[in-house]
Subunit: 456 residues, 2 copies
């Protein structure tokens, strides 16, 4: 698929890649086929999907598959949904089974079926079977490339088995010893195969295998791998037969993702990692449910506070200071949420390397826009609702004050972590506690000052 | 060190371990020397240090070292600080270098020096050199057991090198190819050694090595391993010579820990994982700084609100509803913090498997006590401070109301995640947003009702 080319002596860098991209997608593709697939995947991820696709399409199936192995889910989905069924078939043959299943899950069922019908029937059946497992289970995580030997074998037989499996075995991790029914009874690390004589019986060299049932939760698989420090975990069916393996790398992704996703859920945005790569629109949409809930709770608390406190007071002389104060829980909740969301996303983006110097300005701008949009939308809803519930222009006052304080909270939530990082303070320490205190304080005061100015 | 024993056919389980523990530490030690060291480490972690120590002490150095490899930092520190220098020397010889350095960092310098002087001078010098690196750097993370071959070698030479290194090489991960000066030029996976003919030149089998400078941040090392999907990352000195390796397992610990620690910092407690294993006293102490900050910010905002709103009002007719309302930001901040801390800790404890059914009751009880203590302490401080600042018994009212609402928030923060998990809702979704709304709402109302009751 690539035009004939003389490979450069030194792999190109990001700058050179961008220069070539201006020339043509083919020139850019030539360049990234020479760099590590992980770098290629990172560079493509930074482009718009429309820009990345022609470069990706100009690569051969082997390079495409390599890049997909390292690609974030977003990039993978963007690329494979644009591929023809026959090109898809080519990369399915190149990919390890667990990655192939992820690709199949991305495309429409009819395209997946067409792609599968173009490859080796045996591989296709295996992938169809793997696709049946729930993505959150050990079965959804496992790959089917693994090497086994029998209880009566010697280490030399294991080495032979690895060589026979050829390329597939390169993906496999160590060797499982199984009984006549295919049930795992032992595990032999590659390093043991290398360091002990080949005539050693496997029964003498093996250690106890760790296994998990195919339907078990993927977190459970990750916990086992973590607890026992495993390289790979055997996955068994209901009869106890070995049907797949989960690698430590898969487990570490599950763990990293789970902690990250829990963090994102707890601060009230979507459980998606790499938030700074999403569009402003998408980020606003993901955070609106929590904001809606916060507005609702805030309005409810303002109403309940009126009932508990001010029987008879409202309406008597227009809106006064007590009326404004009843909306403090609303504004504190909203401003706190917005600030903590921005700061948390930045703190994690720093930690994972997702946010480097080249992207700082655009990421900060993006997060602040998200805050401003949320402030605007909540402010409008609040102005209308409070305007209906309360006398005078209290609705306008509370609505505008909300907009101002929420936008300020977003700015604080962005500037504080960035500043901390610049001066060498751990941004995470400041992002939560300190930011919440500051945004509560600033939010309350801005709210009161703006609301009073409008009321007078 | 162990008395003669007939090993059981089936390894003991936790229940049997507890029964044996009642008999004698030696009987319990016999039992845990038969199970996987990861299980032994988990069982010992659940005991009080005073109870775990005699069991640990009754094991031989090899078993002790194995358990320490899997032990949480807390258990490791508890055990090694009780060991004599000569016993410590024995386990230093058994441990991989990176773990040995962690052990040395736990004990007093004089004990560490005495232990080091009792082992092979060569190993001791290596450990002393490793101890010099900052724990947060690639140097602090690396181990020095690795296998190298020269550029002119063949794969068979690599296998020979692995066999020569003997036991040490079992810890090592794959093989680095270095030039005459010891600078890494290539990397060969064990699986490649097994699957290709032994007379293949290493230059044909190797891939480009990934390396990092010894002084680089440990997060950077973890990011590289994650990005390139490495099994091991070479660590080089200023001259570019290979001096250590960081394994994928180390990296995954760094990553998991960093996400977890960021989460803990953001909700305002200490950046320590496994919070449910800490004593109530320690947890309260770790959270007090944030609570102090929140109280301060809340009192400041109440004072500023008086200035902005109620010139002339206070003191005229005793404390009224406006005065109570000015303390809403304080109570919302405190109750929100306490609730979110408890729920976050529970959510993560579920996810990591730290909290299973056997510990549920004690963990819930612990977290609620932490909340009650924080409520009590903050309530007293607030009652005294507000009592001094405001007229009438407003101080008493605000203080008592704080205690009640903070304790309620802690109960909500514990019960909501547990209930969600029981009924099959992801606790993380509810732990943050929903809980904050609920605790803001409940906190405000409880506060107002209690404060008014006291004022009347």
């Amino acid at each position: 698929m690539l035009p004939p080319m003389t490979p450069p002596d030194v792999p190109i860098d990001l700058e050179e890649f961008r220069i070539r991209l201006e020339e043509s997608p083919e020139r850019a593709a030539e360049g990234i086929s020479e760099v590590h697939a992980a770098d290629a995947a990172a560079w493509l991820l930074d482009l718009e999907a429309e820009e990345a696709w022609p470069v990706f399409a100009a690569l051969d199936a082997e390079h495409q598959a390599e890049i997909l192995e390292y690609a974030e889910d977003d990039l993978r989905t963007d690329m494979v949904t644009r591929m023809s069924a026959s090109d898809l078939g080519d990369i399915l043959e190149e990919l390890p089974s667990d990655e192939a299943v992820d690709v199949l899950a991305d495309v429409e069922e009819s395209v997946a079926e067409e792609a599968l019908s173009s490859i080796l029937p045996e591989t296709a059946d295996e992938l169809r079977a793997l696709s049946e497992y729930d993505a959150d289970t050990a079965g959804g995580l496992m790959a089917t490339e693994f090497v086994t030997v029998l209880e009566g074998d010697r280490l030399g037989d294991a080495v032979k088995a690895i060589r026979q499996q050829g390329e597939d075995a390169e993906e496999a991790l160590d060797v499982f010893v199984v009984d006549a029914d295919g049930r795992p009874v032992g595990f032999i690390a590659d390093r043991v195969l290398l360091s002990q004589p080949i005539h050693t019986p496997v029964l003498e060299a093996m250690v106890e295998p760790q296994t998990i049932s195919v339907g078990a939760d993927q977190e459970e698989a990750a916990q086992l791998i973590d607890k026992y420090g495993l390289v790979s975990l055997g996955v068994v069916d209901a009869a106890g037969r070995l049907i797949g393996v989960v690698s430590a790398e898969d487990a570490s992704e599950v763990f990293g993702e789970e902690a990250e996703e829990d963090l994102m859920r707890i601060v009230g945005t979507a459980a998606e990692t790499r938030q700074t790569r999403l569009t402003v629109k998408k980020r606003v949409r993901q955070r609106l449910p929590l904001m809606g809930l916060t507005v609702l709770a805030g309005l409810l608390s303002a109403t309940l506070l009126r009932i508990f406190l001010g029987e008879g007071e409202p309406g008597t002389e227009g809106a006064g200071s007590t009326d404004i104060l009843r909306y403090l829980p609303l504004i504190i909740g909203l401003a706190g949420n917005v600030g903590v969301q921005s700061s948390t996303i930045l703190v994690r983006a720093f930690a994972t390397g997702e946010l480097d110097a080249t992207r700082e300005r655009s990421v900060l701008g993006g997060e602040m826009s998200v805050g401003a949009w949320i402030g605007l939308l909540c402010g409008i809803v609040i102005a209308i609702t409070v305007g209906g519930l309360e006398p005078g222009n209290l609705g306008l006052a509370v609505g505008v004050a909300t907009m101002v304080s929420v936008s300020c909270a977003a700015v604080l939530g962005c500037l504080i972590p960035v500043t901390c990082r610049r001066v060498g303070i751990d941004p995470a320490i400041v992002a939560g506690p300190f930011l919440i205190c500051l945004s509560d304080l600033a939010g309350s005061l801005i709210f009161i000052v703006v609301a009073q100015a409008i009321l007078r």
